[in-house]
């Protein structure tokens, strides 16, 4: 349980921190501090269990059938890292409280800092590799947010982008590697993968897995050639640099390498990649660090160098080197974080981090100077400090790393040179900032900071000293627990002591110290002024390559967008149709397309005639749709009727009923819309005659014929094959016994696949509401505002019909039809209920019944006019939609009370006196929901559209004669506002 808390608390804290007021610096710091300290306490509390070799776990099943569980797992190694993350988090929070200025929006800072802490702890404690990658990416994202904290600075944005691009791409590679790893090991649980080491190394995928995992680790740990993001990341606030970019996040890469060390190491490939990457980073980072002008720049390059050292150790394939690597991860975290804090203090106190300008600060800030001096000495590897111990172990290991003189002599020599660099840049950092005459022209007068800001740094420096002097008593047990967790029985014996006698590593250490001193002296004497770039290395700036690649990518994307994409709908549709056609044609061409062998049914001439009419209607509609909309609409309706007859012909009575009712409402709907479209007269359309327009029509005609031909071919290819009954067998066989319904189509809709139908009617309801909402703000085009021509002419002749709601029947042309449709309404209502009720066993159902009733209602509107109809009865479509959804929903949820899953049908058989046996089913209730929703949605859409004409109706009759269109539109908009 405490494992879950350790991961969860930071995230909860992050959430709370985000909502605190933006000037609540103290509250934020208290919150973050309490979270970090609590986590530290929880981690420490688990030490007794962990040190006995036990693995603490907490598994929350997520998708156990796929081997995916939320698995937290803490062994000694994870414990050490969890402690590092939470303890360092506490120190950084304290430091940040004083570092952040009152003007900075602190909620964002602490919120992301805590989120990072949670992600990092989650990563460290992950017992499942996929989960590990998720947390891994989360650390990249939070790091992005923290680097870009001062997003008004362009270097912050640039640094954040670079860091995210590099580390997230590495994370993707890692995901690929992990997926393959899990595939080979037979599961993603860390324990299973760790146990499958031999199997994985022998597998043909091993090189691919290794390279992908290493890409992930090396990008995260800023190793050559991906190191360039780390110096750019220094645009982050200094607490972030101390925490993420020296102590914890950049360690994630080497953490993972050590975690998977038993699985992946031991091969030549591992040795060469890691040694080359590590050695390059070690030397180049150290060399570049000597020439930086920015204090944080020195520290960033030195971090690259020290991480290179760890990578190199991990690559050496010896167990002692692994111990040294883990040891150095901890040591580096302590001295580097404290140096970053010192750099922040200097920045804070003087207003600059420029090594050229800073000088002699030890007079003004002696405590800071002392702390920085000790930490820098640890970084340089001076005896009696922790850096010395792990560096000496490193020197010792380089001598036994491999065979052959090149490695046996070359590697120790390079290591010594790297040691010299390390001494040189440490010396330069301390000497230039703290010694010499006190700088005069600094932006602020240097002063010692508050104790709160010094305390974290001081604690870290104390740790450097204690570990350096009494390694066996301080860090010894922890290190042993951690390495035992990785290596198990094979943990080598080693001695953590300051004095091992006059050994070769000790000699190397002293050579490095002396060499570093000489390098710095030479530099100091020859070139007092440094331009901030390392000589020789400028050409190999990965950052510049990265920028160039990014700019080229953006340009290529722009080019692709300009050439491929279009803002014109016609081009887009052309592309969709074209690609669909080409894709289908490719399949047909590459596959074996032939007619099937099924017996074809004889042609019925009546059916053929039907489709002669249907096809003629379709083509006629296609030709007429531009200039004769009404004719086109009627012809489309004709095609719809033929479609409906086709359904009826081929044993689909439900479809035929649905199609015919939908056809009616669709035509009415579009008729209502026609009024708002502009007049278009064929004669005066000159553009139609241009060559381009003609060419385009020819091209579209060819496409249309091709698509039609393709579809016909496809359909015939299917129809000439025998039918498969596998899918329908279940529904036909179980319809009566299980659902108690004879109409299989309806049973599928309201029972077997009721959940789909539920979603479907929800969509219909949403569409109806959207239509309603869009029409509330409808603004017609100016020339469409006036009355239509027919009504205007009526008005001119004085025969215009002005509706009078008080009359018994609507007067005018429509009086006789009005009588008829009034009589029709109860009949139609009855028929709709009839269709609804019988739907389970015979053609019908909620959709059809609902559409019948909706049609009857619409007919009232059409004949009587909206004003007259609504003066009498009013159907409230919104209530119908809501009740329909509610009914369908309750029909589904009622199954829960019977202990069944959602939408399982329940039946109730009653034997009532007088009435007799009654069979009640929750599917009927569901179908009633469908019915009501369809009525509501259809009526809502049609009435909302019909009411648009009503808005102009309400104006005084004089408008018909008015020729002032501008006046008209103003009145129209006023009536709309009033509406």
């Amino acid at each position: 349980m405490s494992l879950v808390l350790i991961v969860l608390l930071p995230f909860l804290g992050s959430l709370v921190a985000a909502f605190l007021p933006s000037n609540a610096r103290n509250a934020e710091a208290w919150l973050a501090g309490i979270v970090a300290v609590t986590c530290t306490g929880l981690v420490l509390n688990l030490y007794p269990e962990v040190t006995s070799g036990e693995v603490v776990r907490h598994v929350i099943p997520w998708l156990p059938q796929f081997g995916l569980n939320f698995h937290l797992r803490m062994d000694g190694y994870a414990w050490l890292f969890a402690l590092l993350v939470s303890f360092m988090g506490a120190l950084v929070v304290l430091y940040a409280r004083y570092y952040m200025s009152a003007a900075d929006p602190v909620p964002r800072f602490f919120s992301f800092l805590l989120a990072f802490m949670g992600a990092m702890v989650g990563m460290v404690l992950s017992g499942n590799l996929i989960q590990l990658v998720v947390f891994w990416e989360l650390t990249s994202l939070t790091s992005f947010m923290l680097i870009a904290y001062w997003y008004h600075l362009s270097e912050a944005r640039h640094g954040a982008r670079t860091a995210l691009t590099v580390t997230a791409m590495g994370g993707l590679c890692l995901l690929g590697g992990v997926l393959m790893l899990g595939e080979v090991a037979g599961g993603y649980e860390l324990d299973r993968v760790l146990a499958a080491g031999d199997q994985i190394r022998a597998h043909p995928w091993y090189p691919a897995i290794l390279i992908l995992v290493l890409l992930g680790a090396l990008t995260k740990s800023a190793q050559f050639p991906f190191h360039f993001w780390l110096p750019h990341a220094m645009a982050a606030p200094t607490p972030v640099s101390a925490y993420l970019h020296s102590a914890t996040m950049v360690k994630a890469g080497v953490f993972l390498l050590a975690r998977l060390w038993p699985v992946l190491s031991g091969t030549d490939l591992w040795f060469w990649i890691l040694c080359l990457a590590g050695l390059s980073s070690l030397l180049l980072g150290g060399f570049a660090a000597i020439f930086q002008r920015d204090m944080k720049g020195v520290l960033a390059y030195s971090t690259i160098s020290h991480l290179g050292l760890i990578t190199l150790l991990l690559g050496m394939n010896t167990r002692l080197a692994l111990v040294a690597a883990v040891f150095h991860m901890m040591n580096h975290a302590t001295f580097k974080a404290s140096l970053f804090m010192a750099a922040g203090i200097v920045d804070h106190g003087t207003g600059t981090r420029d090594l050229q300008r800073l000088s002699g600060l030890s007079r003004a800030m002696p405590i800071t100077a002392t702390l920085a001096l000790v930490a820098a000495a640890a970084m340089a590897g001076v005896p009696l400090l922790n850096g010395f111990l792990s560096k000496e172990m490193f020197f010792a290991e380089t001598m036994f790393a491999g065979e052959g003189p090149a490695i046996r002599i070359g590697l120790p020599a390079m290591a010594t040179i790297a040691g010299m660099f390390s001494v040189a840049y440490s010396l330069r950092l301390i000497h230039q900032v703290f010694f010499g005459p006190l700088a005069e022209d600094l932006p602020r007068v240097p002063h010692e900071p508050t104790r709160g800001m010094l305390l974290p740094s001081a604690l870290l420096v104390l740790a450097c000293l204690l570990v350096g002097i009494f390694p066996g008593y301080t860090v010894g047990p922890f290190l042993r627990t951690a390495t035992q967790a990785i290596l198990g029985e094979q943990t080598p014996t080693y001695s953590l002591a300051v004095w091992h006698g006059l050994t070769l590593p000790l000699v190397m250490s002293f050579v490095a110290l002396l060499g570093g001193f000489i390098i710095y002296l030479l530099l100091y004497l020859h070139r007092r002024r440094s331009h901030g770039h390392a000589p020789l290395l400028n050409r190999f700036d990965g950052g510049r390559t990265f920028d160039v690649v990014i700019i080229r990518l953006i340009r290529a994307a722009g080019l692709a967008r300009r050439t491929i994409a279009s803002r014109r709908l016609q081009s887009q549709l052309l592309m969709i149709v074209g690609i669909a056609f080409v894709a289908a044609a490719l399949v047909a061409w590459s596959g074996d397309v032939h007619w099937g062998a099924a017996q074809l049914s004889p042609v019925d001439p009546i059916f053929a005639l039907l489709w002669v009419v249907g096809g003629a209607c379709a083509i006629g509609a296609a030709v007429q749709a531009k200039y004769h909309r009404l004719a086109a609409l009627i012809m489309v309706g004709g095609t719809g009727l033929i479609t409906c007859l086709t359904f009826a012909w081929f044993s689909a009575p439900d479809l035929a009923l649905t199609q015919i009712t939908v056809e009616v409402v669709t035509v009415v709907l579009i008729l209502l819309g026609l009024r708002w479209l502009p007049r278009r007269i064929e004669m005066n359309d000159a553009r139609r005659q241009t060559l381009r327009a003609k060419a385009r029509r020819v091209r579209d005609g060819i496409i249309a014929v091709a698509v039609g031909g393709g579809m016909a071919t496809l359909v015939f290819a299917v129809l000439s094959r025998p039918r498969m009954v596998d899918l329908s067998r279940f529904f036909v066989e179980h319809s009566l016994p299980q659902a108690g319904g004879g109409n299989v189509v309806n049973v599928i809709l309201v029972d077997f696949r009721a959940f789909d139908t539920f979603g479907e009617i929800t969509v219909v309801g949403i569409v109806a509401l959207t239509v309603y909402a869009l029409l509330r703000r409808f603004r017609p085009a100016i020339e469409s505002v006036g009355l239509p021509r027919a009504q205007r002419e009526d008005g001119a002749r004085g025969t215009q019909y002005v509706p009078d709601p008080t009359e018994l029947l609507p007067q005018g042309y429509m009086m006789v039809p009005a009588v008829l449709v009034r009589m029709l309404l109860p009949m139609a209502g009855l028929i709709s209920v009839f269709f609804l009720l019988r739907g389970h066993n015979l053609p019908g159902g909620g959709f059809i019944g609902g559409l019948v009733l909706a049609t009857a209602v619409i007919v009232q509107y059409m004949v009587g006019g909206a004003i007259w109809v609504e003066a009498r009865t009013r159907i409230q479509p919104l209530y119908w939609i809501a009740s329909g959804l509610l009914a369908a929903g309750t029909a589904g949820t009622i199954a829960w009370f019977a202990g069944r899953t959602f939408l399982t049908s329940l039946t109730l058989d009653l034997d009532l006196p007088l009435i007799g046996a009654i069979h009640l089913s929750s599917t009927l209730w569901f179908d009633i929901g469908v019915y009501m929703l369809v009525v509501g949605a259809t009526v809502l859409m049609l009435v909302a559209l019909a009411h648009q004409s009503l808005r102009s109706y309400r104006r005084p009759g004089a408008v018909a004669q008015s020729t002032d269109i501008r006046m008209d539109s103003r009145v129209a908009s006023e009536t709309q506002e009033a509406h």
Partner: protein, 114 residues
């Protein structure tokens, strides 16, 4: 019958696609209606053509699926018809609103070439 059915779908989808590529909104909405017929018939055809074999069972019948038309495509098409009505309505309102806002019934909201 099969060949007529196939040709019918071909004509409907050809006319529909031609209208879809036209510049005026009304043409597009008509084209979509025609395409909707074609696609509904197409899905329906996946269950093959059967005459007088509506998938409606009586309690005494043998539930042998080969004796009935395929109910699955029918169920799919039934909801598809209703949904295509809803999308037609939505599209119609959108083009009316676009016409009111832009003053043109061109699909791009501004007069292009033809």
């Amino acid at each position: 019958m099969e060949i007529i059915f196939a040709l019918a779908i071909g004509v409907l989808s050809g006319s529909g696609v031609w209208l879809l590529l036209r510049p005026r909104t009304f043409q597009v909405i008509m084209g979509l209606s025609l395409l909707a017929y074609a696609i509904n018939l197409f899905i329906f055809a996946m269950g093959r053509l059967a005459i007088d074999r509506a998938p409606i069972l009586d309690p005494g019948d043998v539930p042998d699926p080969t004796l009935y038309a395929d109910p699955v495509p029918q169920a799919l098409v039934l909801t598809a018809i209703v949904i295509s009505f809803a999308t037609t309505a939505l599209l119609l309102v959108v083009i009316l609103a676009s016409r009111g806002l832009t003053g043109t019934d061109h699909v791009d909201g501004r007069e292009g070439e033809a």
